[in-house]
Point group: C2
Chain length 229, copies 2
């Protein structure tokens, strides 16, 4: 599976979050980084050709006024022509996956009814969900990164793995797919006998998975004991 | 009350809808037309100074991928700085009204769960509703114009009046405010002894109102008769 990451960020070069995310996937040959320029129009045919080479399309951006910065909107307006996009016409995006990766300057808790922002992330993303719906794409659960600057090193390590999985695992929300993904990564890394930190992260993830498994086994044991009364 | 109409339309000069709307309010001195350029950034201070002169702010645009074209997003990103906008900071927009006037290429019926677009207009407008919420603005019921090209002359006449009311009546959704607005218009027109077509429209509107009033009176009569048994 190949993934295209379309990045919309007016101050990309100053963004620690974007630098972190880029580094996280720099060794993944199946991930392509596509940064959008500001205040420019796009060549629809060129961009459409690019889209056709990928199965997962990522819209990656800091949340500005509850949606992507203007450059992604410009890209949508120029590139996603009706005939190319609509499920009722050429449906060239049908069955691809659409993933939103968005960063927030405020706690995710603020985004709910009655809270500071008044609406949930799921509600704010309706225009993208409607785009997926209209074009026959599968809308994935978004990856929301809130207040990156305040994350601890441990939280950043978790985010790194999570981001890699969201971009490259076939089903990043299933336990089995995650487990398989980790094993794949481990094999790749071992083959290259490369940097220790990443190996450590993978081992941590495996340990976490194992403890989750152990917890499940313990629960099953208790249920059996109760049954045997 | 003064109204600022901010128009975002990449092909403004070719738009029959926009030409119609502009003509509809050309004689209203309390309405200012502010067309946004494409692929340009905005001077926040200049735009903020402009905003401060109006009580009602209109975002007017054709719906492109379930929101405004990129130029309005660029304007939001540049002009609506946190300190200026947030209700928790300077709150310079607080208590102003925000009105969305949007045109659709498809029937409004398509915009609901299970229908072709899958989501309602109210859902799609969440990013603007959240902006109003965060800045303390009053979000007005949007004016949705669907398939302008297919409207009959009678429907266009109705739209013209409705648009004028949405832009200039103090409460365009109350019967009394509408009635007062019509009378005001009539007085202005009579003073100028001007074009007949517009007068005819106003008379039509008055007639409609009168028939609604007559209907209400009839209902009250029936209720009284029942009471008197």
């Amino acid at each position: 599976m190949k993934t295209l990451v379309i990045i919309s960020h007016p101050e990309y070069d100053d963004s620690e979050t974007q630098a972190f995310l880029k580094k996280a996937v720099q060794n993944f040959t199946n991930v392509t980084w596509h940064r959008l320029p500001n205040q420019q129009t796009f060549d629809p045919e060129e961009e459409q050709r690019l889209l056709m080479q990928f199965e997962r399309i990522v819209f990656q951006f800091p949340m500005y006024w509850y949606s992507a910065p203007a450059s992604l909107k410009q890209w949508e307006d120029d590139v996603l022509t009706r005939s190319f996009t609509f499920a009722t016409e050429q449906a060239r995006l049908a069955h691809k996956e659409l993933l939103i990766v968005t960063s927030l300057g405020y706690p995710e808790n603020d985004f709910q009814a009655g809270s500071r922002e008044g609406f949930s992330i799921s509600e704010m993303l309706v225009p993208y969900r409607a785009l997926a719906y209209r074009s026959g794409m599968k809308f994935m659960s978004p990856l929301v990164i809130s207040q990156f600057a305040y994350l601890t090193e441990a939280q950043k390590s978790q985010l790194l793995i999570k981001y890699q999985q969201y971009l490259t695992a076939t089903d990043p929300f299933s336990f089995t797919a995650k487990q398989n993904w980790v094993i794949e990564q481990l094999q790749t890394e071992l083959a290259k006998t490369t940097d220790k930190m990443k190996l450590q992260l993978i081992i941590d993830q495996l340990t976490e998975n194992q403890s989750e498994l152990a917890g499940l086994k313990e629960q099953i044991k208790l249920i059996r004991q109760e049954e045997e009364g």
